[in-house]
């Protein structure tokens, strides 16, 4: 058939990403045959430059990974000319190369997209669902795609976050094995324009990673301060228990100073005392004999 649905997705990142993010990006590129790669973007360029890059590459969708502080990974999903865009915080990234993911699928086969019923309940989720479908769904009859449908992407909303999983369909009775990368998206904001524009929605449950880290540090500090305070209180208590007794003025009444003796300086050595034998204590040898007798008797 003819390839009508012309969707092209540009997948690229900023500088300063770590190996895991790089592998995730590569995995997404292999799984989505309608994707294009681009070089790393410099941080100093503004975000709306991305729109121009996309136009140059003739893409109408974009996945942009942004790494901050070498720790936090943000992902932008956008419909480039004028459409909405969304920024997410990415967590819990596991790539295709992990040995626990035992499934495999054809490179370029079209995925089945499975969504949670929650996606239909809220308007922002509905918008996100539409975005996901257009970005992650491989167009039919794409030249690089395979005609079979042998894997399924699941998007689930749990704990205010969107969980992504990729399963391989083994049997017709829906036995599945996990293939692919897995990650968790934490929605931050949805914008009206591509990489800019009015904020359509802001996630109230979102806490920036900086804030998160700060809270942890504060709680640790608070614990430490509490301990110190307790110690101080204990010290004060100990000191405070000693009652200060005032000096008794009547104490001095009975004091009589001793008579002063004249200072005698001895010039002659005193006579040595005579050695008085203790008759009650037997002599050493006799004592030993006594001890022996005592022992034999016993």
């Amino acid at each position: 058939g003819k390839w009508k649905n012309k969707e092209r997705v540009l997948i690229f990142s900023s500088r300063g990403i770590n190996f895991r993010t790089r592998h995730l990006m590569q995995d997404l590129r292999t799984l989505m045959p309608h994707s294009k790669a681009d070089t790393k973007m410099d941080r100093k360029d503004q975000l709306f430059v991305i729109n121009e890059v996309c136009e140059m590459k003739n893409c109408n969708k974009c996945i942009f990974f942004e790494a901050k502080k070498k720790q936090d990974l943000y992902m932008w999903l956008s419909n480039t000319p004028q459409g909405p865009s969304a920024k997410f915080l990415v967590q819990n990234v596991h790539t295709l190369a992990e040995l626990k993911m035992t499934g495999n699928c054809l490179r370029g086969s079209r995925p089945l997209l499975s969504f949670d019923p929650t996606f239909d309940k809220e308007p922002h989720y509905a918008l996100l669902k539409e975005l996901f479908i257009q970005i992650f769904g491989t167009p039919q009859y794409h030249p690089k795609s395979q005609p079979f449908v042998d894997h399924v992407f699941t998007f689930t909303v749990t704990d205010e976050r969107i969980w992504f999983r990729n399963y391989q369909i083994i049997e017709e009775d829906a036995s599945l094995v996990e293939i692919g990368p897995r990650f968790v998206l934490n929605l931050i904001k949805i914008f009206q324009g591509s990489f800019g524009g009015a904020t359509l929605y802001e996630n109230p449950h979102y806490q920036s990673p900086n804030m998160h880290r700060r809270l942890i540090r504060l709680s640790v500090a608070a614990k430490f301060r509490e301990k110190q305070q307790v110690k101080e209180v204990q010290k004060i208590k100990q000191k405070g228990s000693k009652v200060l007794i005032e000096g008794d003025p009547t104490e001095v009444v009975f004091e009589t100073p001793a008579e002063e003796k004249p200072v005698e300086i001895q010039l002659v050595k005193p006579e040595s005392k005579p050695i008085v034998k203790d008759k009650k204590k037997p002599r050493k040898i006799q004592r030993k004999k006594q001890k022996k007798l005592f022992r034999t008797e016993a």
Binding site: N5, L31, N79, G83, P84, L96, A97, L99, M101, T102, N104, C105, L106, R107, G108, R110, P111, L112, L113, S114, F115, D116, P117, F119, D120, P123, H124, A126, L127, K129, E130, L131, I133, Q134, G137, P139, Q140, Q146, P147, F148, V149, D150, V152, T154, T156, T158, D159, W163, R165, I169, E172, D173, A174, L176, I179, G180, I190, Q192, A198, L200
Partner: protein, 254 residues
């Protein structure tokens, strides 16, 4: 909120389902699992439960989508001769297979070691039992042979089967005690130490014999039971035959 809806309506593409291939469903209701299959019960911290909920959602989607695809004549099963590039390279799959195999082997090895240990214990027990039985049999056989030699029993049954010692009633004595032959204690000692005299190294104060209180008769021990024939019988019970009589009995009974 309205802005969102407006945006969505602008952005939404009206494409046939075949292009999009999206399914929005809940999970497969599992009749087996006792826990609630509703989404609210899923605790995000409980990893296993969470992953199972994702799995079930994917399953539900697949079960819904595959018939539809088949109707639209989109192939879902790969024919066996269709070789194409896979998302993961063969090398990667090999690594995965190796890891799985090594895990399985480790488990099997530990299982085998456990079984061996159990078998060894059991085997030892069985072996000791068999040895003891053989020794007993040998002893009985020898006794029976000796009896035959001494002319007490002219039966050659012991050659065929096990023989129980049968005390011949040579003495038709009125006394019950005489009828029995030697004393129970004497009989026990004969049986234990045999006819060859006291065997060297036979333990007779073992744990089992010590704990064995079957031969304790409280009435006899406390001298409370009725005598054989009242008072007179009591005397007769304790009467011990003379030396000559005893020797005769001894030689007869063996």
């Amino acid at each position: 909120q309205d802005g969102l809806k407006l945006c969505l309506s602008e952005f939404r593409q009206q494409l046939p389902w075949l292009e999009r291939l999206d399914v929005t469903l809940g999970q497969v209701v599992d009749p087996v699992s006792p826990s609630a299959s509703s989404k609210d019960a899923v605790d995000p911290e409980n990893d296993f439960q969470r992953e199972m909920s994702f799995y079930r959602q994917a399953q539900a989607a697949v079960l819904d989508a595959l018939p539809r695809l088949r109707k639209l004549q989109v192939p879902t099963r790969r024919p066996d001769d269709y070789f194409a590039e896979m998302a993961k390279s063969d090398q990667q799959m090999q690594k995965i297979r190796q890891k799985l195999k090594s895990k399985q082997e480790a488990m099997e090895r530990s299982e085998r070691a456990k079984q061996l240990r159990a078998m060894r214990k059991y085997g030892k027990k069985v072996q000791t039992e068999i040895l003891q039985r053989r020794q007993k049999e040998k002893k009985n056989m020898l006794n029976a042979v000796k009896k035959y030699q001494k002319g007490l029993s002219d039966k050659l049954d012991f050659l065929d089967e096990e023989q129980t010692l049968s005390q011949g009633n040579k003495k038709g004595s009125a006394s019950q005690r005489m009828k029995k032959g030697p004393n129970a204690k004497r009989r026990y000692k004969n049986q234990k130490f045999g006819f060859g005299g006291k065997k060297k190294g036979s333990k007779w104060n073992t744990k089992e014999s010590f704990n064995d209180v079957s031969s304790f008769r409280p009435k006899v021990a406390h001298n409370k039971g009725p005598g054989k024939a009242g008072k007179g019988g009591k005397k007769a019970l304790n009467k011990r035959p003379g030396k000559r009589a005893r020797q005769k009995m001894k030689s007869r009974a063996r």
